[in-house]
Symmetry: D2
Subunit: 354 residues, 4 copies
């Protein structure tokens, strides 16, 4: 990390960047109100910080040991930037004054199903509409989402999602599973989701980040927090800081009967908020894997400081083609939203890692 | 489980018990307002339920497959008892209308230290006083609590705890670690704690249960929920139903840096509440292992439905002999209690697994 | 699964396939010596097995509940095929009479380094040469392999690998990380590796399988065995059965200091061998993460029944750019190979799940 | 740790001990051939090592940071003692030139059953006889072993075990579960076993160690290696170094179907052997939880360097009252012993962490 003097000139900044790039590294330049910070992308051991410190305009040059630097609170502070980033999607502010609720069906099954649910969740108080098209599935023998039917089917489902979002005034989000889907999905949605199973797919991360759209990025169930944040850095290194991080449950203890699909690691919420400036939300649906726990885990998530929730919702959960056990009705969603808003007020400014 | 007819006579009940005991099993008799239920303790495959069903006064006789029967909601329902038990300790109701806060130092270090902290936590709003005397420690080379100094030291520390509780109007609780400590501890405290590391110690469970005092029983960090409840049954089989269950964190994922000591499994709170009638509380201090997360995890615990919290509190955490990293001050405790009370109101009757 | 009569005609088989495809499923046809089996790929609940059973030429039609069917021993047996598949790569038989040793550097650093190591491991007794070009890395700030330098660099490194393999008479293998690398890599290597981090990347699996080259497929450190086998099915559903499965360690317990990078789950070797006909090998290097354990874990792997090992080897481990802690020298490799061959003889025909 | 000069006098040694005890610590004195080492038991921060270093006869005084010191290879080296301890039980050497096989029924059911099995395992090649009397059970409703029937039953079962051992020339071992059983068990057996579930029970450890008999100590399924070794130190601090450590499986991954009861962590074998001088054995039966994996895991254990195995064996596994799924017949035991002996020769002097 190189901190430039307050009066450093553009030429001096350019010189520093050139010096860094000479060693095969890339740079991330943060121009704060008071000073400019140059973050290094690549192996910092290749450059001489002593030499960099002596270049004109440089105030301080030092190595950052953590595998995630560009997303760290420390980096934001050094740049004089806000230590809590708000990701804006249309009028919605994720990480702002209100808890944000993302809701919709696990998988889009038909235009009618989608519109019915979209209307329901909007009335219940949700602000953003989700709907799965490319479903990651454990079994090749399971329904793979409408995206599994080929590009034409995928495009049609995407257009329904766009239309439903526009009709009910909600930005839309869907999950991407492979590099070949990036262009298509980016054409239609406001937020691109990278699911837990693709968390480690660094080529996909880079490819999505380059679209410069907000990204919802879920923690893998086997990933430590350091690893999760370290992979997040792949996207920010492409100069896309509109990343929303999502905790959705880690591996359960393997002892006896499993009462939930995953173990929701709620401590991860304040921990990540203390480490980075990115907003953190919670997915109670996949963590629980059962409808009757979604209320409690949603409330707990907001109480832990999450700035939003992504909840699977279906007008008729029992007949859903995917995840029928864990989707809640719009009526249940409404009850949950009401409680969560009160909880946000109860914790005051202690949300977001405060 | 044997359900007697509403008009079954005491002699008929006695006959059924005699028949069961003939096969080497013991019984648990629940006399509800409308009918009597006889629970079987031991291997149910040894008795003939067909034969039992034909005895006079018997309405229904059936095997229960779950390894925890006597503590199950199903059993309480069958007996016509309340499906949410309130454990009473003096005037305090654990599992009642208010969240209960248990607080105090990790380890009692001196009389002065204990009284200072007791006064502080009382003013902050805590209702029950905790203080460790027999400390389970990973290393034989660490401070083992005043109980490590022999029986006289232990007795003195226990008397301070009793005195502090009486002076500030709080029931008291301390942890027991081995069978030889049971008599001594039971003499002084209102609630006996069995810690996570002793969760599997079935001889200790039986020995403590026989004292017929309320027990705070913590889940081991490697224990599945089914296992935790199954071991709880050892105590209830001794006819002691005043058991408070406590979630305090399970093994963290072993990937990279650990940001917390354990992973607080908050889904366990509503899950256990759906399975059993026993009250469930949360220990945010040991789960976090760091002071700055205690507020968030406490709020999340109450939002998940916990009916109480046990929080390590110290007037001067930095100088504590044990767990100095995770204890909070009485001032911090007060802020936490205020927020938690609001959260309880926010979730309404959805606490306790509702 | 549909079992055709011994005298079923090609037309009858075609009719059955047409009937299945009508419902949106695909088929896998195994023509054994005595009969033909038609496996179903897709949601079996969509077809009527009663109806299929009545078609001409059909002996039996039944649903298979397991998420992995096409790779199951049961399926091979039904088709009259061998229940232990040998994957042939040139003259090498993986799953045959001898343990197969795959060795080479974690990452290819230069042509000279590669050739030196190739010669060393060949002399030590290795039969297949490995060398990493597209390195999956936790940190964007780490060396990403020569493949990180762009397509030209990748192609050059691949040509070295090919050349080294040809010169020293060893088939070659390298890892692939994203869909855009498939064509390029398939052009040069004999076996394509899909690493642990990409285990869940179903689009990549399909894309690699379509090359119809042998695949080395590693279990993710957070994946259950059922899940690992279930994802394997994505490749076999593309009619590629030359899959070598690899156990390389699962998440370690998160308690205290980690003495190894992962926990090598050796029971997985016989377990997988009992479930499927595919050969199973072990990677001791990544599991251990430290050189001094590679010998013991290699011996244990072969004793557990593994039909091969993939071992990171470097002429000068201390100076390796990646994984310097866990690579062993060719001399150490030789000692390990000698011991493993004796162990294979000691367990006799009990290798491979016997 | 205080290293005395070669010519230090008994009085000088006594003075150092007195100085240490003044601060509330205890000492462990190792008199090697060339010099004497004084290990400190308790919180080393309480003593001044600078002051100790200046006492007459002291060569060096330094703090050891690891939570296990008295059992560390470093400590043995400093004392000039052997870095691989052999635990002798009668004529049997655990940690000596041969792999040692401990076998017998999970639970003793009757005298006849025990003698039949004892004869069988002896003929198969086992050297030590095991038999459970106090069975730790998850459910209060399961068979608790003959020890569950009261002291008289326990004493009778213990006398059978003693008699069977004497008749067939095998030392005997049984598990202890609570402090009240220590005196009784120590009266009859040659090795006292502390099972996985009691690993954390420090009061029990101290109580057993004081009997000064060899102890077989099993790692808890949720315990890190550091923790396991740290608790071992409680026994050695009572001046009992005849401890045999046993790996028997850790928590399995909680993803999907479990194919084994636990995950056998075989890397723990060489890791522990590198850290401490105590012998390490493996229990394949409890790790697997199924008979058909016992052969493979036994071979893998010996290949990993274990100096012995403890295997559950029953003449009629299907009818065993406890663990019927995982016991093997004497015939299967014989095959396993034959293979393991060959494997031990195959790894040469690389057993025991070499």
């Amino acid at each position: 990390m190189i901190i430039m003097k307050a009066d450093a000139t553009p030429t001096q900044i350019k010189n520093v960047i050139r010096e860094v790039e000479k060693h095969g590294l890339r740079t991330d330049v943060s121009r704060g109100d008071f000073r400019t910070i140059i973050g290094l992308i690549g192996d910092e051991r290749k450059v001489s910080f002593e030499r960099l410190a002596m270049l004109p305009g440089v105030k301080e040059a030092r190595m950052i040991e953590t595998p995630y630097k560009l997303i760290s609170k420390e980096y934001a502070k050094a740049a004089g930037e806000k230590t809590e980033r708000i990701v804006k999607v249309g009028d919605i502010e994720i990480g702002g004054d209100e808890v944000v609720f993302i809701a919709g069906p696990c998988a889009i099954e038909s235009k009618k199903q989608l519109f019915t649910i979209a209307e329901g969740v909007k009335k219940a108080g949700a602000q953003i509409l989700r709907g799965g098209i490319f479903k990651p599935r454990t079994s090749v023998h399971s329904f793979q989402g409408l995206g599994g039917g080929g590009e034409d089917d995928a495009r049609e489902a995407l257009s329904w999602l766009r239309e439903a979002g526009d009709k009910f005034g909600m930005p839309v989000i869907t999950e991407i599973r492979g590099e070949t889907q990036v262009d298509l999905v980016a054409e239609y949605v406001d937020i691109i989701q990278i699911g837990a199973r693709n968390m480690y797919d660094q080529d996909l991360l880079v490819s999505v980040a380059k679209k410069h759209k907000p990204i919802l990025y879920k923690r893998h169930f086997g990933a430590g927090i350091e690893e999760f944040l370290s992979f997040t850095e792949y996207m920010v290194a492409e100069d896309n800081k509109d990343i929303i991080l999502c905790e959705r449950g880690i591996l359960p203890l393997g002892k006896g009967k499993s009462y939930t699909r995953y173990t929701l690691d709620l401590a991860a919420v304040p921990v990540i908020q203390k480490e980075t400036y990115l907003p953190v939300i919670v997915d109670p649906s996949h963590a629980a894997g059962r409808r009757d726990l979604v209320f409690s885990l949603s409330c707990a998530g907001v109480a832990a400081g999450a700035v939003g929730l992504i909840v699977e919702s279906h007008n008729n959960p029992a007949e859903a083609l995917v995840d029928s056990q864990q989707q809640i009705t719009p009526a249940e969603l409404k009850e949950l939203i009401t409680a969560c808003k009160k909880i946000r007020r109860a914790i005051g400014d202690r949300h977001n890692g405060g």
